[in-house]
């Protein structure tokens, strides 16, 4: 049975000729060597009726054999503060924090540690599945003293925890106090111990929050035994603090009379948009976050009166740490490419092959940064690729009710399941159940491959690439990230910009760029469905990372917690663009209305299609039925559907030139469009469950054409491209490339 064993990623997703891109590869045992080549991707779908896989070798110095090796990935989020003068005088010790454990019964997990295990020096504060709070102190002789409170934590409750050590008396005090009040609570308590020998709590190891330090790797401490849950205001003090002092340190500034004794008190309610954690003590022992724990989350003191962390940062002074979050695999480089100066813009891959193994680390060569090299730009939705990258829903749930058939587990899915450390998609939940609101492309994204058998995002977009290649139409390739950085000036170099099949995730910069393009005479072909739907955020100092919150409503696999709808990266309100007053219908004429994943359907021409303004679209087409064929579900109207709606902002002059019909009951209207749930929400009963093909003119001679369906591009290949979907698409493209203004 085919077993996948090789995967990799690149440091960049879009490079211009002359620029460098590095590739990182990991092989499972059995793959001792692999061949690497740079190829231009032409076609990907390998299903029997599909166009098959095709590429074109780009002769480069990369081509050659490389040794296979397994590269380690250290997932899980935590904070690191370097050792420094702040911690030099430690003899007595106080530790405290408010904590919200989400998986306290899973295993022992570390809250705060500064420990040289080999020398037996330092301290660590833990949560233990049966003993609750546990303090470890170095004995100075290579061993550890351990003191436990003895009562387990309840999951998903806030506690104030503290531990003190008095070196003169040897007294150890532990306290865990539930911050909510229940009639019966057996999880709060205090414990007093006496150490027999003097502990050595000072050491020169770095301090970690939410993890213990396992070892140095790649020149940095690597966390292990990572805590799942929220930590707020961790404090380290160099003397034994009283109960009232511990309470006073929970929030606000460090009291003046405590300042000399506080080593560090981190306020997580500052610098939300960074990886920095700010120490508000005079020592300024700031730290750094690793692997994107979630910021801008509710703290223990959240009142519900304020829903925006920007307005009440002190109520959002917690960070949610996770043992399976990941930003950057940080693998060693296997090979790198300097893109030859004359490389045409296109979709490329580092193609890795070995015996029955292959992988395609896909990247884009954009045109030179100062110009376009074609009149048409294909806009690759890298934000959406990142959102779906490493989707685990199939192998973990195999949800037959989405597709109305048995789930087929691919070798790629089994490989992903063997590698939980590669992190999750934004459709998954973390190990503790928290929805995944950050993604990164600095890791193998197993399903974002041109040949992936789940025809979705890149693998589905290859249908469009194959069609453009077959048409012989020159096109540049640009990405969401290029557009986010360069703005509308990038798009304005083109007569026509064409989206891919499912451009669902948009940052503000991206939305603004597309909108401005359509308002300045540009021509936009929106070749898919459910586009311009969720708002996302990038961070300039965190390349390859993206944030998203699933707020209020929308078709979604999880929901953000109340009060956590604003994105930490930018402070912007997250969720549906519709909820920010920008509907897809106002941008492209149609917007997400229904989805289903069994049978695709077809479109029927409307009266609008006979309007003279739409004549160019149907030139040479006599058929009433459009797209009753296709490589995904057998029709051009399938998967996720968009419809026109005046109420949601479709321009009044827009023409709906074709409408789909006869969708199965597997197709159901999106929940944000439903008030009360009714029996009639399936495709057989609900006339709203349909896609609309929309055309409208925009100011200064521009125009928009929107297909309304993810399945559209899957129909282009039918009958060797000689079909009415292909013809319509070509008619529109030819007219959109014609400089003659629309009136």
């Amino acid at each position: 049975m085919l077993e996948k064993k090789i995967a990799g990623y690149s440091d960049e997703i879009s490079v211009a000729p002359g620029e460098r891109i590095r590739f990182m590869v990991s092989c499972e045992p059995g793959v001792d060597r692999y061949q690497a080549d740079i190829v231009r991707l032409i076609s990907g779908d390998r299903q029997p009726d599909g166009p098959g896989y095709r590429d074109e070798l780009l002769p480069t110095s990369v081509s050659g054999e490389y040794p296979g090796r397994t590269q380690e990935t250290y997932c899980g989020s935590y904070a690191v503060a370097p050792d420094g003068p702040a911690f030099s005088a430690l003899a007595d010790l106080s530790l405290q924090a408010a904590i919200f454990p989400t998986l306290p019964a899973l295993r022992r997990a570390c809250l705060i540690s500064k420990m040289d295990v080999e020398a037996g020096r330092g301290f660590a504060l833990w949560t233990d599945p049966s003993d609750g709070l546990v303090l470890q102190l170095g004995d100075g002789r290579g061993g550890l003293q351990e003191y436990a409170l003895g009562q387990p934590f309840v999951a998903r409750e806030w506690y104030l925890v503290s531990a003190t050590y008095d070196s003169a008396s040897g007294d150890v005090h532990l306290r865990q106090q539930l911050l909510d009040s229940y009639a019966l609570d057996t999880s709060s308590g205090v414990a007093r111990h006496s150490s027999e020998a003097t502990a050595v709590v000072g050491c020169n190891a770095p301090l970690l929050i939410a993890a213990a330090s396992r070892e140095e790797a790649r020149g940095k401490p690597v966390g292990e035994m990572i805590f799942n849950g929220r930590i707020e205001r961790p404090v380290v003090a160099s003397r034994v603090l009283e109960g009232s002092e511990i309470e006073a340190l929970r929030s606000g500034p460090v009291p003046v009379d405590l300042r000399t004794d506080i080593c560090a008190a981190w306020d997580f309610g500052q610098a939300f948009e960074t990886d920095e954690i700010i120490d508000i003590s005079p020592n300024r022992a700031h730290g750094t976050l690793v692997n994107l724990p979630i910021r801008a989350v509710r703290g223990s003191n959240w009142t519900g009166d304020e829903l925006d962390f920007n307005h009440a940062p002190d109520q959002y002074a917690a960070i949610h740490f996770l043992d399976d979050s990941l930003y950057d695999c940080e693998w060693d480089v296997d090979f790198e490419l300097e893109v030859p100066a004359d490389t045409p813009s296109g979709l490329y891959a580092a193609r890795l092959t070995a015996a029955d193994q292959e992988d395609h680390i896909t990247f884009i060569v954009r045109p030179p940064r100062d110009r376009a090299t074609a009149s048409l730009a294909l806009l690759i939705p890298t934000a959406s690729y990142m959102a779906y990258g490493n989707s685990r829903g199939g192998i973990e749930a195999g949800n037959e009710l989405l597709s109305n058939r048995l789930h087929v587990v691919s070798p790629e899915e089994r490989y992903l399941n063997r590698h939980p450390e590669y992190g999750n998609s934004m459709y998954d939940n973390h190990n503790d159940g928290t929805g995944v609101c950050y993604s990164s492309r600095l890791r193998p994204l197993i399903n974002i491959r041109p040949t992936h058998p789940w025809l979705w995002q890149l693998s589905a977009d290859m249908h469009l690439v194959e069609w453009l290649e077959a048409q012989g139409i020159p096109f540049d390739v640009i990405t969401d990230e290029d557009m986010h950085q360069d703005g509308v000036s990038l798009l304005e170099r083109y007569s026509c910009v064409m989206t891919c099949s499912h451009p669902e995730y948009y940052s503000t910069n991206m939305w603004d760029a597309v909108h401005a393009f359509t308002q300045r005479g540009g021509r936009l072909m929106y070749m898919g469905g459910n586009g311009f739907y969720w708002r996302v955020a990038y961070r300039d100092d965190k390349p390859g990372a993206m944030e998203m919150r699933r707020t209020e409503d929308g078709s979604r696999s999880w929901a953000s917690e109340p009060g956590e709808y604003y994105m930490a990266f930018t402070g912007e309100y997250g969720g549906l663009w519709w909820r920010a007053g920008r509907t897809p219908q106002s941008l492209v004429g149609n917007g997400f209305i229904a989805q289903g994943f069994d049978h695709s359907s077809y479109f029927r021409r409307t009266d609008d299609s006979h309007d003279p303004r739409a004549a160019f679209i149907f030139e040479g087409i006599d058929d009433e039925i459009i797209g009753d064929f296709g490589l995904i579900g057998g029709g051009a109207a399938g998967l996720e559907l968009d419809s026109a709606s005046r109420a949601y902002g479709t321009p009044p002059h827009a023409l709906t030139v074709a409408t789909s019909e006869q969708h199965t009951d597997c197709y159901i209207r999106v929940n944000e469009d439903i008030g009360h749930m009714l029996l009639s929400i399936g495709g057989q009963d609900d006339p709203q469950v349909h896609a609309d093909v929309v055309f409208f003119e925009t100011p200064r001679g521009g125009a928009v054409f929107s297909t309304g369906s993810i399945g559209w591009s899957s129909a282009l290949f039918h009958n060797d491209h000689d079909n009415n979907v292909s013809r319509m698409t070509r008619n529109v493209l030819d007219r959109f490339l014609d400089p003659m203004p629309f009136e």
Binding site: M1, L2, R46, I395, N404, V409, D598, H599
Partner: protein, 104 residues
């Protein structure tokens, strides 16, 4: 919680409809049964595992746990997705109704 919709073991006419067209679309009455069958807990859910891409699939059950592989049912191998659907329908029919599905 999975669906509890009862399946009447006497409705072999619906089973016949499924066997004739396992990929659907199904009649409303058959779809109710199919929905009941497909709405199971993730742990133990039947899935197909690709043995040869687009040609051969083996029956397996999900672990329901991240990082834990599927359990392959080695004796159940199919060369068509339709036959796999038929086989699983038959197994689930007996599991839910307690009555083996016998069709002439």
């Amino acid at each position: 919680m999975p669906s509890q919709y009862p399946i009447d073991p006497g409705r072999t006419d619906l089973a016949r409809e499924f066997m004739a067209n396992p990929m659907g679309p199904h009649s409303a009455a058959l779809q109710r049964i199919v929905t009941r069958m497909r709405d199971t807990e993730a742990a133990g859910r039947y899935v197909l595992v690709t043995r040869v891409p687009y040609q051969e699939w083996g029956l397996a059950q999900l672990s329901g746990q991240r990082g834990v592989d599927v359990t392959l049912l080695e004796d159940q191998v199919f060369t068509s997705l339709e036959d796999a659907e038929r086989a699983v329908f038959k197994m689930r029919w007996e599991l839910i109704t307690g009555t083996p599905l016998v069709l002439d």
